[in-house]
């Protein structure tokens, strides 16, 4: 297998400086792959896919009657992040998560940042993710955002940006661990001498983070993962994390509030649980407080949480900090709380709620990406340059009707990686989602989920929109 026919085109390529000229950290990988016998790379790719199916590493697709489970497409050529760059990413993420956490705490207390006119009041008041029920809450150690998955992208010129903050229930970390395991089993040759930083410690780090949340004086608080159930698209991950941490995986119907404790229904009666790593949205946590039609949560949970008798990760209300309009203010937020310049820059963002910026957006829809502030997973978005005139007109209408719900960003020429497709190696666009844990201190997992848009030319990497993933190799210094 040679990379001679591989073309980087007009994009930044994560593996090559130019056609067939590898980046410094990727030289060894290129050499290893090229030394494989003919057809071996494709055989390894097929073996990896078989293993994924056998292990049932799948996600659920809602609108598909025939098969509700699909494997998350996986590509065996790893994506490499060099040590120095990772060092910078790690520092940048710590800075960002630290500041965003201060922001959430401030918003639910004095709102100093609003009073000082740094973030406009109307943005907070109109944010759907602002939870008035959380005003005055004091989570242990004032940490709200225990698990964060920040989306990073790289533009044509090589500059990395933060594209999105995911502070509610970011998913995907199970694929980081499983991708690594699959790679080691199907492609051990390429690991030798590559000095890749391991990712295996994530589950025990997560467990320690969760255990650190319980305020009471208990040696080992009882932790459980709360899932919406088997039909949730990320169910595999919930069960994987519970298994890897060795804790119970519970559904709302397994829990009940008794005497100011959250109890699990066990074969021997009720047993208390101290910390819930909840993977259900705020809306569904407690039918007495949030959506009353929710069958996924536990009646009385919020009351017990407020009394400090159970801990929740992430804390309810963190969604305010990943509202896509608030995102535009993150550089100012960092400066306000830390007195520092933002390290990893934001993508320039137009807030449609602002009349001047809205006018610009509507006039330049063919150059912009428009996103709905409250949606994720690649839904409710317009990629202007790839859209039809009708789609653009439709979005212009939607923006005028409900400007607060939209933001726009310039279309980035996302960086690419080599991917196996149609029997050859071709360039496809990627992003990178590292995972950050915040308990007694902030920890960044050396790795992350590299998502690939498998359709030629596509810029949407979400698994619900035909994206796949790769193992991400952070090299040792």
């Amino acid at each position: 297998m040679k990379f001679t026919a591989y073309e980087t085109d007009d994009f930044y390529d994560e593996m090559f400086v130019s056609d067939s000229m590898p980046r410094p950290g990727a030289g060894l990988l290129k050499e290893r792959i090229e030394s494989l016998p003919d057809g071996e790379l494709f055989a390894r790719q097929a073996a990896a896919e078989r293993l994924l199916l056998q292990n049932g590493i799948t996600f659920n697709v809602y609108n598909d009657n025939a098969a509700t489970e699909k494997i998350f497409p996986f590509d065996v050529i790893p994506r490499i992040v060099e040590a120095a760059e990772w060092d910078w990413i790690e520092k940048g993420l710590k800075q960002r998560v630290y500041a965003l956490n201060l922001f959430v705490d401030d918003i639910y207390h004095e709102q100093k940042i609003v009073k000082d006119n740094v973030v406009p009041e109307y943005l907070i008041q109109s944010a759907r993710s602002f939870r008035k029920e959380c005003v005055g809450l004091n989570p242990p150690q004032k940490v709200w955002c225990h698990v964060t998955g920040t989306d990073l992208v790289r533009d044509r010129d090589g500059q990395m940006y933060v594209l999105e903050d995911n502070l509610r229930c970011p998913s995907g970390v199970s694929y980081v661990l499983e991708n690594r395991r699959i790679m080691k089993r199907t492609f051990p040759q390429v690991f030798e001498a590559s000095r890749v930083r391991p990712v295996d410690e994530y589950p025990s780090r997560l467990l320690s983070t969760l255990q650190s949340l319980f305020p009471g004086a208990i040696d080992s608080p009882k932790v459980a993962v709360l899932t919406p159930g088997i039909y949730n698209s990320a169910y595999y991950e919930h069960s994987f994390l519970a298994q890897q941490m060795g804790v119970e995986l519970v559904e709302g119907r397994d829990l009940v509030a008794v005497n100011n404790r959250i109890m699990m229904r066990t074969t021997k009666g009720f047993e208390p649980v101290d910390v819930l790593y909840r993977r259900i949205d705020d809306d569904f946590l407690d039918p007495q407080v949030f959506r009353s039609d929710s069958l996924l949560g536990v009646a009385g949970l919020m009351d017990i949480y407020k009394k400090g008798r159970v801990a929740l990760a992430n804390a309810p209300g963190t969604g305010i900090a990943d509202d896509k309009s608030i995102y535009a203010y993150v550089p100012k937020i960092i400066e306000y709380y830390l007195g520092e310049k933002i390290m990893i820059p934001n993508v320039p963002t137009y807030i449609c709620a602002d009349p001047k910026e809205r006018a610009y957006v509507v006039d330049h829809l063919d150059k912009l990406v428009v996103k709905s502030v409250n949606e994720s997973g690649g839904y409710g978005m317009l990629v202007g340059p790839h859209a039809t005139a009708e789609d653009r007109a439709e979005f212009a209408r939607r923006i005028q009707d409900n400007p607060r719900n939209y933001i726009a960003q310039p279309t980035l020429g996302l960086s690419r990686v080599p991917v196996i497709a149609e029997g050859r190696v071709v360039g496809r666009h990627v992003d990178l989602r590292p995972y950050v844990l915040y308990g007694s201190d902030i920890y960044v997992l050396p790795g992350g989920l590299t998502r690939v848009a498998l359709k030629a030319g596509s810029l949407v990497v979400n698994s619900s929109q035909g994206g796949g993933s790769k193992d991400t190799w952070v090299l040792q210094a």
């Binding site: 056998q54 049932g56 169910y235 069960s239 995986l249 009940v256 509030a257 005497n259 074969t267």
Partner: protein
């Protein structure tokens, strides 16, 4: 452990065992038909009766031909007890408790399901006999993997209980059907044909060779003795219930011989009944009547287990909090 998880482990185990048993029944019947004298009518209806699904079968098919019965029992997704359905249910249960079982167990259930699904959707690729032996092996492998990888705590006891109660049920049905329906006519009793059929019943329960070691010649009363009352044969009803009872008491910690809940009471009574009866009593009373009553009592054991361990229990009225459901 969580009631929901215990329930799923129990059913995971029952469904794996059920798929195994259905595969045995069909496979042995296939083999047995080869030994029938020319001109005899092939007997397939009894197989449907074993699984207790006559009504569901006759709503779909008019005649119990070989193909109809095999399709219904092995591949039909609308039959909840077909091999395909059992393995789908086993996998669905395993999927909901993946965090509680070992990864090896999950991989085995999953690959077994994928294998059966592929066979169900491609008739051309089917070698029937090979298929049934694959299902049996997959199930046995699953039991072996479970034994060596699952914690031998509560989860394992629920698992064993499910497997053994299912097995006791299937052994009783197997005997029942042979006694009433496989018998072509009274004059065949004691003929070579009768021997062949009894040998097939034993083979269905993987019992032929062990039976020979114990009793030698094929004799119906001794077969009844072996499959119902034997103390050492792992598929005999008595053995299954004794071991299931051990598992049940290991869960609760109640000493054997006492009871603290309906499950322990009912299983204990049923086991004692078997421990203090003999073949003569069974046959005098009527084998069919005995087995019929046994199945009813076994269902009550299952209901007792459900009520004791799996059902949602209300919060005591004194508790100040509202109950969710």
């Amino acid at each position: 452990m969580l009631s929901r998880v215990a329930n799923s482990i129990y059913w995971l185990s029952r469904y794996m065992e059920r798929a195994d048993n259905v595969a045995r029944f069909i496979d042995v019947n296939l083999q047995m038909m080869l030994d029938l004298p020319g001109g005899s009518q092939e007997q397939w209806q009894p197989l449907v009766s074993i699984s207790g699904d006559d009504a569901a079968f006759s709503s779909k098919y008019t005649v119990a031909t070989r193909d109809n019965v095999i399709n219904f029992l092995a591949f039909a997704s609308e039959n909840p007890n077909s091999i395909v359905s059992c393995l789908r249910a086993a996998r669905e249960n395993a999927r909901t408790i993946r965090e509680s079982i070992s990864p090896e167990m999950w991989e085995q259930v999953n690959s077994c399901y994928l294998m059966v699904n592929a066979a169900a959707s491609n008739e051309l690729l089917r070698s029937l006999s090979g298929f049934f032996s694959d299902v049996k092996k997959a199930s046995q492998l699953f039991h072996g993997i479970t034994d060596t990888t699952l914690l031998h705590g509560e989860e394992w006891h629920f698992y064993r209980m499910g497997r053994l109660l299912e097995r006791a049920d299937k052994t009783s049905r197997l005997l029942d059907v042979k006694y009433f329906m496989l018998l072509p006519s009274v004059t065949d009793v004691g003929t070579p044909l009768d021997d062949i059929q009894w040998a097939a019943v034993l083979r269905s329960a993987s019992a032929l060779e062990m039976y020979r070691k114990r009793h030698g010649h094929i004799a119906p009363e001794q077969i009844v003795e072996f499959l119902i009352l034997d103390h050492e044969f792992p598929r005999s009803i008595h053995y299954c219930l004794t071991t299931a009872n051990d598992a049940l008491h290991a869960i609760s910690g109640t000493p054997i011989g006492m009871f603290r809940n309906p499950a322990e009471q009912r299983l204990g009574q049923l086991r004692a009944e078997l421990a203090y009866t003999d073949t003569h009593q069974i046959v005098t009373r009527g084998l069919h009547e005995f087995l019929d009553a046994f199945q009813t009592k076994l269902n009550r054991v299952d209901q007792g287990i459900y009520d004791t361990f799996f059902a949602l229990r209300p919060v005591e009225p004194s508790a100040p909090d509202r109950v969710g459901q």
